[in-house]
Protein backbone atom coordinates (compact mmCIF):
# COMPACT_ATOMS: atom_id res chain seq x y z
CA UNK A 1 0.00 0.00 0.00
CA UNK A 2 1.26 3.50 -0.90
CA UNK A 3 2.46 5.39 2.20
CA UNK A 4 0.88 8.86 2.09
CA UNK A 5 2.48 9.89 5.43
CA UNK A 6 5.93 9.78 3.85
CA UNK A 7 4.81 11.53 0.66
CA UNK A 8 1.81 13.71 1.49
CA UNK A 9 2.36 15.93 -1.58
CA UNK A 10 1.35 13.09 -3.91
CA UNK A 11 -2.17 12.69 -2.52
CA UNK A 12 -3.72 15.53 -4.47
CA UNK A 13 -2.08 14.25 -7.64
CA UNK A 14 -3.43 10.80 -7.03
CA UNK A 15 -6.92 12.08 -6.38
CA UNK A 16 -6.65 14.15 -9.51
CA UNK A 17 -5.52 11.14 -11.53
CA UNK A 18 -8.36 9.04 -10.20
CA UNK A 19 -10.82 11.76 -11.05
CA UNK A 20 -9.36 11.97 -14.54
CA UNK A 21 -9.74 8.23 -14.94
CA UNK A 22 -13.35 8.39 -13.87
CA UNK A 23 -13.87 11.21 -16.31
CA UNK A 24 -12.38 9.16 -19.14
CA UNK A 25 -14.61 6.26 -18.25
CA UNK A 26 -17.63 8.51 -18.15
CA UNK A 27 -16.71 9.97 -21.49
CA UNK A 28 -16.25 6.52 -22.97
CA UNK A 29 -19.58 5.43 -21.59
CA UNK A 30 -21.22 8.53 -22.98
CA UNK A 31 -19.66 7.89 -26.39
CA UNK A 32 -20.83 4.30 -26.32
CA UNK A 33 -24.34 5.37 -25.30
CA UNK A 34 -24.35 7.99 -28.03
CA UNK A 35 -23.43 5.35 -30.58
CA UNK A 36 -25.69 2.67 -29.16
CA UNK A 37 -28.73 4.81 -28.47
CA UNK A 38 -29.84 5.60 -32.01
CA UNK A 39 -29.35 2.05 -33.24
CA UNK A 40 -31.41 0.74 -30.32
CA UNK A 41 -34.02 3.34 -31.01
CA UNK A 42 -34.00 2.42 -34.68
CA UNK A 43 -34.36 -1.25 -33.85
CA UNK A 44 -37.19 -0.51 -31.47
CA UNK A 45 -38.89 1.69 -34.04
CA UNK A 46 -38.54 -1.04 -36.67
CA UNK A 47 -40.04 -3.64 -34.34
CA UNK A 48 -42.92 -1.36 -33.50
CA UNK A 49 -43.48 -0.63 -37.19
CA UNK A 50 -43.44 -4.31 -38.08
CA UNK A 51 -45.87 -5.17 -35.30
CA UNK A 52 -48.12 -2.34 -36.32
CA UNK A 53 -48.02 -3.40 -39.96
CA UNK A 54 -48.73 -7.02 -39.08
CA UNK A 55 -51.70 -5.96 -36.97
CA UNK A 56 -52.94 -3.70 -39.75
CA UNK A 57 -52.57 -6.50 -42.32
CA UNK A 58 -54.47 -8.88 -40.05
CA UNK A 59 -57.21 -6.33 -39.60
CA UNK A 60 -57.44 -5.73 -43.36
CA UNK A 61 -57.86 -9.46 -43.97
CA UNK A 62 -60.54 -9.63 -41.30
CA UNK A 63 -62.29 -6.64 -42.82
CA UNK A 64 -62.17 -8.26 -46.26
CA UNK A 65 -63.70 -11.48 -44.94
CA UNK A 66 -66.36 -9.60 -43.00
CA UNK A 67 -67.27 -7.18 -45.79
CA UNK A 68 -67.40 -9.98 -48.37
CA UNK A 69 -69.76 -12.03 -46.21
CA UNK A 70 -71.87 -8.96 -45.58
CA UNK A 71 -72.12 -8.26 -49.31
CA UNK A 72 -72.92 -11.87 -50.17
CA UNK A 73 -75.10 -12.67 -47.17
CA UNK A 74 -78.01 -13.59 -49.41
CA UNK A 75 -75.95 -16.11 -51.42
CA UNK A 76 -73.93 -18.57 -49.35
CA UNK A 77 -72.55 -20.25 -52.45
CA UNK A 78 -71.32 -17.14 -54.29
CA UNK A 79 -67.66 -17.65 -55.30
CA UNK A 80 -66.39 -14.73 -53.20
CA UNK A 81 -68.43 -15.85 -50.19
CA UNK A 82 -66.96 -19.35 -50.46
CA UNK A 83 -63.43 -17.89 -50.47
CA UNK A 84 -64.22 -15.77 -47.43
CA UNK A 85 -65.78 -18.67 -45.48
CA UNK A 86 -62.71 -20.80 -46.08
CA UNK A 87 -60.44 -18.07 -44.68
CA UNK A 88 -62.28 -17.57 -41.38
CA UNK A 89 -60.33 -20.16 -39.38
CA UNK A 90 -57.01 -18.63 -40.45
CA UNK A 91 -57.83 -14.95 -40.37
CA UNK A 92 -59.76 -15.06 -37.08
CA UNK A 93 -57.43 -17.61 -35.51
CA UNK A 94 -57.19 -15.61 -32.30
CA UNK A 95 -60.93 -15.18 -31.97
CA UNK A 96 -62.56 -18.27 -30.51
CA UNK A 97 -66.00 -16.64 -30.62
CA UNK A 98 -65.83 -16.11 -34.39
CA UNK A 99 -64.55 -19.59 -35.13
CA UNK A 100 -67.19 -21.10 -32.87
CA UNK A 101 -69.93 -19.14 -34.65
CA UNK A 102 -68.52 -20.26 -37.99
CA UNK A 103 -68.54 -23.90 -36.91
CA UNK A 104 -72.24 -23.59 -35.97
CA UNK A 105 -73.13 -21.85 -39.23
CA UNK A 106 -71.16 -24.43 -41.21
CA UNK A 107 -73.16 -27.14 -39.47
CA UNK A 108 -76.40 -25.45 -40.47
CA UNK A 109 -75.25 -25.41 -44.12
CA UNK A 110 -74.77 -29.18 -44.11
CA UNK A 111 -77.80 -30.61 -45.99
CA UNK A 112 -77.62 -33.75 -43.86
CA UNK A 113 -78.33 -31.73 -40.73
CA UNK A 114 -81.59 -30.40 -42.24
CA UNK A 115 -81.44 -27.05 -40.47
CA UNK A 116 -84.40 -24.78 -41.13
CA UNK A 117 -84.07 -21.59 -43.15
CA UNK A 118 -84.69 -19.52 -39.99
CA UNK A 119 -82.05 -21.37 -37.99
CA UNK A 120 -79.53 -20.96 -40.79
CA UNK A 121 -80.22 -17.23 -41.02
CA UNK A 122 -79.89 -16.86 -37.24
CA UNK A 123 -76.53 -18.61 -37.19
CA UNK A 124 -75.33 -16.50 -40.07
CA UNK A 125 -76.31 -13.38 -38.17
CA UNK A 126 -74.45 -14.65 -35.08
CA UNK A 127 -71.34 -15.22 -37.18
CA UNK A 128 -71.47 -11.72 -38.63
CA UNK A 129 -72.09 -10.26 -35.16
CA UNK A 130 -69.09 -12.12 -33.74
CA UNK A 131 -66.93 -10.79 -36.54
CA UNK A 132 -68.22 -7.25 -36.03
CA UNK A 133 -67.44 -7.50 -32.34
CA UNK A 134 -63.92 -8.78 -33.03
CA UNK A 135 -63.38 -5.87 -35.40
CA UNK A 136 -64.75 -3.49 -32.78
CA UNK A 137 -67.63 -2.53 -35.04
CA UNK A 138 -70.36 -4.08 -32.94
CA UNK A 139 -71.11 -0.86 -31.16
CA UNK A 140 -72.01 0.65 -34.53
CA UNK A 141 -73.79 -2.34 -36.15
CA UNK A 142 -77.11 -3.60 -34.91
CA UNK A 143 -79.36 -6.55 -35.75
CA UNK A 144 -81.42 -4.39 -38.09
CA UNK A 145 -78.26 -3.44 -39.99
CA UNK A 146 -77.40 -7.08 -40.50
CA UNK A 147 -80.94 -7.97 -41.53
CA UNK A 148 -81.38 -5.15 -44.04
CA UNK A 149 -80.50 -6.41 -47.52
CA UNK A 150 -80.78 -4.89 -51.00
CA UNK A 151 -81.03 -7.52 -53.75
CA UNK A 152 -82.94 -6.42 -56.84
CA UNK A 153 -85.16 -8.81 -58.78
CA UNK A 154 -83.05 -8.39 -61.92
CA UNK A 155 -80.02 -9.86 -60.13
CA UNK A 156 -82.08 -12.80 -58.88
CA UNK A 157 -83.31 -13.41 -62.44
CA UNK A 158 -79.75 -13.22 -63.75
CA UNK A 159 -78.63 -15.73 -61.16
CA UNK A 160 -81.52 -18.07 -62.01
CA UNK A 161 -80.71 -17.87 -65.74
CA UNK A 162 -77.08 -18.73 -65.04
CA UNK A 163 -78.16 -21.67 -62.88
CA UNK A 164 -80.43 -23.01 -65.62
CA UNK A 165 -77.66 -22.55 -68.21
CA UNK A 166 -75.17 -24.34 -65.98
CA UNK A 167 -77.58 -27.24 -65.47
CA UNK A 168 -78.14 -27.49 -69.21
CA UNK A 169 -74.40 -27.49 -69.84
CA UNK A 170 -73.89 -30.22 -67.25
CA UNK A 171 -76.54 -32.30 -68.93
CA UNK A 172 -74.86 -31.88 -72.31
CA UNK A 173 -71.43 -32.75 -70.98
CA UNK A 174 -72.73 -35.84 -69.20
CA UNK A 175 -74.48 -36.97 -72.39
CA UNK A 176 -78.00 -36.23 -71.28
CA UNK A 177 -78.67 -33.25 -73.51
CA UNK A 178 -81.54 -34.67 -75.57
CA UNK A 179 -84.95 -34.54 -73.96
CA UNK A 180 -86.08 -37.91 -72.68
CA UNK A 181 -89.75 -37.29 -73.29
CA UNK A 182 -91.34 -37.51 -76.70
CA UNK A 183 -91.63 -33.74 -76.93
CA UNK A 184 -89.40 -30.95 -78.02
CA UNK A 185 -88.26 -28.48 -75.38
CA UNK A 186 -86.85 -25.03 -75.62
CA UNK A 187 -83.59 -26.28 -74.15
CA UNK A 188 -82.77 -28.77 -77.00
CA UNK A 189 -83.71 -29.11 -80.67
CA UNK A 190 -82.51 -32.70 -80.83
CA UNK A 191 -84.73 -35.74 -80.51
CA UNK A 192 -83.96 -38.31 -77.84
CA UNK A 193 -81.23 -40.82 -78.55
CA UNK A 194 -82.28 -44.21 -79.95
CA UNK A 195 -83.42 -46.41 -77.11
CA UNK A 196 -84.11 -43.55 -74.65
CA UNK A 197 -87.76 -43.52 -75.55
CA UNK A 198 -90.07 -45.40 -77.87
CA UNK A 199 -90.25 -43.67 -81.26
CA UNK A 200 -93.61 -42.24 -82.22
CA UNK A 201 -95.78 -44.15 -84.66
CA UNK A 202 -95.49 -42.27 -87.95
CA UNK A 203 -97.92 -43.42 -90.63
CA UNK A 204 -96.07 -43.62 -93.93
CA UNK A 205 -97.67 -43.97 -97.31
CA UNK A 206 -95.42 -46.25 -99.28
CA UNK A 207 -97.05 -45.54 -102.62
CA UNK A 208 -95.08 -43.18 -104.80
CA UNK A 209 -96.66 -40.58 -106.99
CA UNK A 210 -96.75 -41.28 -110.71
Amino acid sequence: MFDFEKHPELLPALISAFAALLSVMATALAAWATWRGPSSAARLAEELRRDSEAKEQKRRMKLWVFSTLMQERHLYNAPEAVKAFNLIDVVFIESFAVREAWAKFHEALDPNKKATELETRNRQRELLSAMAKDLELSGQLGVADLERLYYPTSMEEERLAQTLYRQSLLRQVSGQSAPSANTATTMSAWPPRPGETAPPQVPINTTKTG
Binding site: S177, N182, W190, P191, R193, P194, G195, P199, N205, T209
Partner: protein, 117 residues
Protein backbone atom coordinates in the same frame (compact mmCIF):
# COMPACT_ATOMS: atom_id res chain seq x y z
CA UNK B 1 -84.61 -33.36 -112.79
CA UNK B 2 -88.16 -34.26 -111.82
CA UNK B 3 -91.28 -32.21 -111.45
CA UNK B 4 -91.64 -29.46 -108.83
CA UNK B 5 -93.12 -30.78 -105.65
CA UNK B 6 -94.81 -29.20 -102.63
CA UNK B 7 -92.01 -30.89 -100.68
CA UNK B 8 -89.46 -28.68 -102.39
CA UNK B 9 -87.68 -26.42 -99.93
CA UNK B 10 -84.84 -25.95 -97.46
CA UNK B 11 -84.76 -28.29 -94.50
CA UNK B 12 -82.71 -28.77 -91.35
CA UNK B 13 -82.39 -32.12 -89.62
CA UNK B 14 -81.43 -32.58 -85.96
CA UNK B 15 -80.13 -36.10 -85.60
CA UNK B 16 -79.48 -38.06 -82.40
CA UNK B 17 -77.37 -41.18 -82.39
CA UNK B 18 -76.18 -43.49 -79.65
CA UNK B 19 -72.86 -41.68 -79.42
CA UNK B 20 -73.65 -38.09 -80.25
CA UNK B 21 -75.73 -35.42 -81.90
CA UNK B 22 -75.61 -34.09 -85.44
CA UNK B 23 -77.19 -31.49 -87.66
CA UNK B 24 -77.63 -31.47 -91.42
CA UNK B 25 -79.08 -29.13 -94.02
CA UNK B 26 -80.98 -30.36 -97.07
CA UNK B 27 -82.50 -28.99 -100.21
CA UNK B 28 -85.35 -30.83 -101.83
CA UNK B 29 -85.98 -29.57 -105.35
CA UNK B 30 -87.71 -31.08 -108.31
CA UNK B 31 -86.85 -34.61 -107.37
CA UNK B 32 -83.26 -33.89 -106.28
CA UNK B 33 -82.19 -34.01 -102.66
CA UNK B 34 -78.80 -32.67 -101.61
CA UNK B 35 -77.43 -32.06 -98.19
CA UNK B 36 -74.47 -31.94 -95.86
CA UNK B 37 -73.86 -32.08 -92.16
CA UNK B 38 -71.42 -30.54 -89.74
CA UNK B 39 -68.94 -33.40 -89.89
CA UNK B 40 -68.65 -33.18 -93.67
CA UNK B 41 -70.97 -36.02 -94.60
CA UNK B 42 -72.67 -35.34 -97.94
CA UNK B 43 -75.98 -36.62 -99.22
CA UNK B 44 -76.75 -36.63 -102.92
CA UNK B 45 -79.73 -38.32 -104.43
CA UNK B 46 -83.28 -38.23 -105.63
CA UNK B 47 -86.70 -38.31 -104.07
CA UNK B 48 -90.24 -39.02 -105.10
CA UNK B 49 -93.17 -37.77 -103.08
CA UNK B 50 -95.59 -40.36 -101.74
CA UNK B 51 -99.16 -40.46 -102.94
CA UNK B 52 -100.47 -38.63 -99.88
CA UNK B 53 -97.76 -36.01 -100.28
CA UNK B 54 -96.49 -36.39 -96.75
CA UNK B 55 -93.49 -38.60 -97.28
CA UNK B 56 -90.56 -38.81 -99.67
CA UNK B 57 -89.03 -41.96 -101.11
CA UNK B 58 -85.38 -41.00 -100.91
CA UNK B 59 -82.47 -42.70 -102.60
CA UNK B 60 -79.22 -40.93 -101.73
CA UNK B 61 -75.54 -41.67 -101.90
CA UNK B 62 -74.00 -40.85 -98.55
CA UNK B 63 -70.28 -40.05 -98.50
CA UNK B 64 -68.41 -39.87 -95.20
CA UNK B 65 -64.92 -38.36 -94.93
CA UNK B 66 -62.16 -40.56 -93.54
CA UNK B 67 -61.46 -40.40 -89.83
CA UNK B 68 -64.93 -39.18 -88.96
CA UNK B 69 -66.66 -40.57 -85.92
CA UNK B 70 -70.33 -40.91 -86.70
CA UNK B 71 -73.00 -40.17 -84.14
CA UNK B 72 -73.85 -43.85 -84.16
CA UNK B 73 -70.39 -44.45 -82.73
CA UNK B 74 -68.81 -45.92 -85.85
CA UNK B 75 -65.32 -44.62 -86.74
CA UNK B 76 -64.84 -44.25 -90.48
CA UNK B 77 -61.53 -45.61 -91.84
CA UNK B 78 -59.03 -43.12 -93.30
CA UNK B 79 -60.04 -43.79 -96.86
CA UNK B 80 -63.63 -42.70 -96.13
CA UNK B 81 -66.88 -44.50 -96.83
CA UNK B 82 -69.88 -44.21 -99.05
CA UNK B 83 -73.12 -46.11 -99.03
CA UNK B 84 -76.55 -45.79 -100.55
CA UNK B 85 -79.45 -44.98 -98.29
CA UNK B 86 -82.93 -45.76 -99.54
CA UNK B 87 -85.67 -44.89 -97.14
CA UNK B 88 -89.14 -43.45 -96.96
CA UNK B 89 -88.82 -40.23 -94.95
CA UNK B 90 -91.89 -38.60 -93.33
CA UNK B 91 -91.62 -34.95 -94.37
CA UNK B 92 -94.98 -33.64 -93.23
CA UNK B 93 -95.88 -35.17 -89.90
CA UNK B 94 -97.18 -34.31 -86.45
CA UNK B 95 -94.66 -36.62 -84.85
CA UNK B 96 -91.80 -34.74 -83.20
CA UNK B 97 -89.21 -37.06 -84.73
CA UNK B 98 -88.87 -40.32 -86.62
CA UNK B 99 -86.45 -43.25 -86.36
CA UNK B 100 -84.11 -44.05 -89.21
CA UNK B 101 -82.05 -47.18 -89.63
CA UNK B 102 -78.61 -46.70 -91.14
CA UNK B 103 -75.90 -49.20 -91.99
CA UNK B 104 -74.05 -48.13 -88.84
CA UNK B 105 -76.96 -48.13 -86.43
CA UNK B 106 -80.23 -46.37 -85.72
CA UNK B 107 -80.71 -42.64 -85.34
CA UNK B 108 -83.65 -40.40 -84.48
CA UNK B 109 -84.32 -37.47 -86.78
CA UNK B 110 -86.26 -34.26 -86.28
CA UNK B 111 -86.74 -32.75 -89.75
CA UNK B 112 -87.88 -29.16 -89.93
CA UNK B 113 -88.79 -27.26 -93.04
CA UNK B 114 -87.12 -23.85 -93.05
CA UNK B 115 -88.68 -22.29 -96.11
CA UNK B 116 -89.82 -22.85 -99.66
CA UNK B 117 -87.44 -22.40 -102.55
Amino acid sequence: MGKPSHLDGFYVAYISGAAGLGMAMFIFREGIVVGSDISGVSYDGTFVASEDGKSAHVSALVKVPGGTTLIQGHVVPPEGESFRLERIIPIISDAPFFPLDTPHGPVNVRLTRLRDL
